[in-house]
């Protein structure tokens, strides 16, 4: 295995193209280095892009969107005031990835775009209708994250390509979002199931669903719902969860996972709804290292 540290995006994608799918992009390394040690991936080349000078800046706030670069860390995402205001669900998800040390190193783009169905940041980004830009030697293309995931660890980012930016549109006025996940313990853990809900001013909702299918799933958008009506919320939850296909694994049985998906979806919808007009500051719990 060789190690290469390019200084331009062109060099990086050229290196990737030269390896016919056996190269891996290295950013934070929090996922890749573990895989290397366990030999679950055995690349021929590591392309470390942290010294690439023409990357998008970590966080670029524009009037109608935030664009993230490949080197933005979970800690930076969670601490950014605009992210917290516009995308509380994304900040909440970024705050539960790994531990403090991991979050200081882990890349948002790598976490959300590596195709793990349990990735914490993918559900909020899918629900918020983020899009990714993919670069290769033949140029750039931009796709919605909703269309990006093909299967577990399989995405539209093919051999010779890398994701160079992630754009999340500013949510409509009067909407808000919430991310909830279930884990086996309170300390560092992987999601057994996760839900990110976006609720619009008029009561329409969209949900990103994690760890309940081969890819991060999109539920909704639903029609407007009277959120004070328990029956209507239940119907909305039914609709949001219709794409989910929870299975049994070492983390949970199928029945429990399905039931918890429902509990979290209901709670996330009501939480997001409650955040819409109150204009109260979003309280984010700082996750400690443990």
């Amino acid at each position: 295995m060789r190690y290469y540290r390019p200084t331009t995006t062109a060099e990086a994608v050229a290196a990737l193209a030269g390896e016919a799918g056996t190269a891996r992009v290295l950013v934070g390394g929090t996922d890749l280095l573990v895989a290397l040690r366990h030999r679950t991936v055995e690349p021929s080349l590591l392309v470390d892009i942290k010294r690439v000078r023409d990357l998008r800046p970590p966080i670029d706030v524009e009037s109608r969107a935030i664009t993230f670069g490949p080197t933005v860390t979970m800690s930076a995402v969670a601490a950014d005031p605009t992210v917290r205001e516009w995308f509380p669900s994304l900040a909440e998800a970024a705050l539960v990835v790994g531990s403090v040390a991991i979050r200081n190193r882990a890349s948002l783009i790598a976490n959300s775009a590596n195709g793990s169905p349990a990735a914490d940041t993918a559900p909020p980004l899918v629900a918020l209708d983020a899009s990714v830009t993919i670069a290769s030697t033949s140029g750039e293309r931009t796709v919605r994250l909703r269309d990006f995931f093909l299967g577990s660890r399989r995405t539209l980012c093919g051999p010779g390509e890398m994701v160079t930016s992630l754009r999340v549109p500013r949510p409509a006025d009067g909407s808000s979002s919430c991310f909830l996940r279930m884990t086996r313990r309170r300390g560092v853990d992987l999601a057994t199931v996760s839900v990110a809900a976006v609720v619009e001013r008029d009561g329409r909702a969209t949900a990103g669903l994690g760890a309940v299918g081969p890819v991060t799933l999109l539920g909704g958008p639903t029609g407007p719902v009277a959120l004070w009506s328990e029956a209507e919320v239940e119907n909305m939850v039914d609709e949001l969860l219709s794409p989910a296909t929870p299975i049994e694994d070492v983390r949970a049985g199928q029945t429990y996972r399905a039931a918890m998906l429902r509990v979290l979806a209901r709670r996330a919808v009501l939480c997001a709804a409650g955040r819409r007009d109150a204009r109260e500051p979003i309280r984010l719990t700082q996750e400690g290292d443990s």
Partner: protein, 805 residues
């Protein structure tokens, strides 16, 4: 049978977890007494303004290095000319090995040797504490997932691992038994072929390795006297120790044909003896260095890969190094899972009439110390209660799973889970409060919890712990909505026999070196020796150095286990200090021409007719102008007791009361612990901070098996959650909102200054307290651990289904 008739049987030779290490026959002397009077712990006073370090929270000896990363663990040690070892394992739990082809691997770059069973002496050398059943390397069969079939030694670890992947093993997977139902089925596949077991072993055609029976009174007829009888089955999962340092071994051949073995073990002297026996070397040519273990919890007691590394080192003539991964430690140590069928009778006012237990421990593929875990754990299975009729029948059942071994609590938490839950089941039937039913049944000092000729009685005022825990949790205060409270008690026998020795050198400048073989694995044992030596010799803490972890220079200590070190090694260190004082007195008399009987000694002092002299000054006068030093020897020995089911009376009991207040999320089954109180009967706190840290650590560890920890196997016996990703232990974020520990001090222990052993007590009954609290909060009783959110939620759903149908 009359009420006090008693029968105690252990089916085969009783193996003491202490005695087992010495291999000594039971001492036929009368009731054991230690060389140092165990009760002789009262602090001598009259030492004027001597500083007292004992009883204060002095900083941990070596603690700064440990927390700053300066401490060198095994994997931090470097050795010249080291070769690296990689193990070959199979993706099966149970198989017959038909062929191991090593030729291709042997010629790979850097490879020094490849070893499998065929390369070892025949018959295969085997070792073990209670049964010598463990082969140095898999011998014709794999009995559990992860058992090493071959080992490669190469110049680099990468080369060794590459060659290990090139070793070809032909095998046929065979039927195995992975849980108690399978292992005890009439047609169960046998882990050990009957031909390998003694002809007169009545269990040789089954997976039962050993049994124990403790019985007094007559449970059969006692049921008629009971107002309420409750019968339930409880299970306790297989859990692994998860020391943060996985550990490993480095073995160096010496020029004189001996071996130096570096291994972070709790029992350097057992390892020394095992290696010497297997390699047919004199003990003096096997030197064991035991760097401080980074956590052990019982899992680093018995030898594991050290014999294999010793053979590899001798074959290659090179230093051989094996550092385990966390996954490999999962496959070398765990606690026995357990199923307990309990039947318990109470009078109308909640007094225990009888208690009947059938305890099956799932011990795994080799015996290790598991038979002793079974006998010792179920010995106190009926709990610290006044029960006229008891029958406890236990079995150690083999299985094709990781061999189980000693683990903090040593077989007691498994049965305490059942017994404490039965107390609460009785209380619910009778409409009694959980605290009240324990008040009525918990014995007072001197009362027997184990009856018959080997009667065992309460060695503390245990009601004080119960009442203190109730007070600290606010048992009488109103319970907030959605919450439940539980309270539980349990005991564990301390060490029952064994020898600890110490040497202390009192140097010319008043500094001192204590040689004490206790392994410091995080409990802070060395701090106590430093405190004792400083007080007894009247010197400063910073002038006392402790040497441990080297069988070449430190005298024999049986082991670091059973919470014995404070009592046994503590007494040995104390004895060594007093030996120094007596030697100073004697030489002082000689040097000054005074009569010995005009002199006396006290901590830090020689008392002369002219007044007290600081010990250092007295020693200088005694030694004269050429100087020198004094060497004191200390011995603490406790003999066994012939016929005793444990081989001897316990030197002390660890008693604990735990109370927990929990809130349950009824939608998800998640538990939120608001309060967790742990009160232990500790005798005397030699270092209060260390007592707290041990009790806090044990409490949190107890929450592990109570809430989340379990080894999950697939239907072929492979560990599904092999590694930190899916085997979950509590983190600091899982700790209760309020965790309070408290020590009851009556200065009534057999250790120095009235101390008792501690550090296991606080996890004995965590599960019982949590289970009762969760039951009260939910109205649902769960009898299987751990209480995962999924299990709690499922139980709630089942209860809901039953009420709606």
């Amino acid at each position: 049978m009359t009420e006090h008739a008693s029968r105690t049987e252990v089916s085969t030779t009783t193996i003491d977890d202490d005695r087992a290490m010495t291999g000594a026959p039971l001492d036929s002397d009368a009731a054991g007494a230690m060389a140092v009077a165990l009760a002789g712990g009262e602090r001598t006073t009259g030492d004027g303004d001597q500083a007292h370090h004992v009883g204060t929270s002095v900083l941990r000896y070596g603690g700064a290095d440990r927390v700053t990363g300066k401490q060198k663990f095994l994997s931090d040690l470097t050795f010249p000319d080291t070769a690296h070892v990689a193990l070959v394992t199979l993706p099966v739990a149970c198989a017959t090995i038909t062929d191991v082809r090593t030729a291709a691997a042997a010629v790979m770059p850097g490879v020094l040797t490849v070893m499998s069973a065929a390369d070892l002496p025949q018959p295969m050398p085997r070792f073990g504490v209670s049964h010598q059943d463990r082969p140095v390397i898999a011998d014709g069969q794999v009995r559990f997932h992860g058992e090493a079939v071959a080992a490669v030694v190469a110049e680099t670890l990468d080369q060794a691992e590459a060659a290990a992947r090139a070793v070809e093993v032909s095998y046929e997977e065979t039927d195995g038994v992975f849980d108690l139902d399978q292992a005890t089925a009439p047609d169960a596949a046998l882990v050990v072929d009957p031909s390998a077991r003694p002809a007169d072993d009545e269990h040789r055609e089954s997976n039962i390795l050993e049994t124990a029976l403790y019985e007094w009174g007559d449970v059969a007829t006692a049921a008629a006297q009971a107002h309420v009888v409750v019968e339930n089955t409880y299970t306790f999962p297989m859990v692994t120790h998860f020391p943060i340092e996985p550990g490993g071994t480095v073995v160096t051949p010496t020029e004189d044909g001996g071996l130096e073995v570096h291994s972070p073990v709790q029992h350097p002297y057992l390892l020394q003896r095992t290696i010497a026996t297997l390699l047919e070397l004199p003990l003096a040519k096997v030197r064991v260095f035991a760097p401080d273990p980074g956590g052990a919890f019982g899992g680093k007691q018995t030898p594991k890969f050290e014999p294999l590394l010793a053979f590899l080192a001798l074959k290659t003539g090179r230093t051989c190094r094996l550092v385990l991964s966390l996954e490999q430690t999962f496959q070398t140590m765990r606690r026995a899972g357990c199923r307990v069928v309990a039947r318990t009778g109470f009078t109308a006012d909640g007094c225990l009439v009888f208690h009947e237990l059938e305890c099956d421990y799932l011990i795994g593929a080799y015996a290790d110390v598991a038979p002793r875990v079974m006998t010792k754990g179920s010995y106190v299975g009926a709990g610290p209660y006044r029960i006229p009729h008891v029958r406890t029948a236990s079995r150690a059942v083999m299985s094709n799973t990781t061999p189980s071994t000693a683990f903090r609590g040593f077989g007691c938490p498994q049965v305490a889970w059942a017994t404490e839950s039965q107390l609460d089941a009785g209380a619910r039937e009778l409409g009694l409060d959980s605290l009240e039913i324990r008040r009525r049944n918990l014995i007072h000092r001197g009362e027997a919890f184990f009856r018959g000729p080997y009667e065992a009685t309460a060695d503390g005022d245990w009601h004080q712990s119960l009442e203190k825990a109730a007070e600290l949790i606010g048992w009488d205060t109103p319970l907030p909505a959605g919450r439940g409270r539980g309270i539980a008690v349990a005991i564990k026998p301390g060490a029952t026999s064994g020898l600890s020795q110490s040497l202390v050198r009192f140097l010319a400048d008043g500094s001192a070196i204590a040689y004490a073989g206790t392994s410091d694995m995080g409990q802070g044992a060395r701090t106590l020796w430093q405190q004792i030596v400083a007080d007894e010799l009247g010197t400063g803490l910073d002038k006392v150095t402790v040497v441990s972890g080297d069988t070449g220079v430190v005298p024999f200590d049986l082991q670091t286990s059973a919470s014995r070190s404070t009592v046994f090694m503590g007494n040995a260190v104390l004895d060594a200090c007093r030996d120094i004082r007596r030697r100073i007195l004697s030489l002082y008399a000689d040097s000054t021409g005074s009569e010995e009987d005009t002199l006396s000694e006290a901590p830090g002092l020689l008392v002369t007719p002219e007044g007290p002299l600081p010990l250092l000054e007295a020693s200088r006068i005694a030694l004269g102008s050429l100087g020198g030093e004094f060497v004191g020897q200390g011995i603490a020995r406790m003999r066994g007791r012939k016929g005793h089911p444990l081989g001897g009376d316990a030197a002390f009991y660890e008693f604990n009361c735990t109370a927990i207040e929990v809130e349950v999320d009824l939608d998800t089954g998640e538990l939120l612990l608001h309060k967790h109180i742990s009160v232990s009967d500790v005798g005397t706190e030699l270092n209060p901070t260390q007592v707290v840290s041990q009790d806090e650590g044990a409490s949190i560890m107890g929450l592990g098996h109570s809430q989340m920890e379990q080894l999950l196997l697939d239907d072929r016996g492979l560990i599904r959650n092999l590694g930190a990703l899916d085997y979950r232990i509590p983190t600091f974020k899982d700790v209760p909102i309020e965790l309070v520990t408290h020590g009851i001090e009556n200065h009534d222990g057999p250790g120095p200054y009235g101390s008792k052993g501690i550090s296991e007590g606080a996890l004995l009954c965590t599960a019982g307290a949590l289970g009762a609290a969760a039951s009260q909060a939910t109205g649902v009783v769960i009898r299987d651990l751990p209480l995962t959110p999924e299990r709690v939620w499922t139980a709630l759903q089942q209860a809901l289904d039953q009420t709606t149908t």
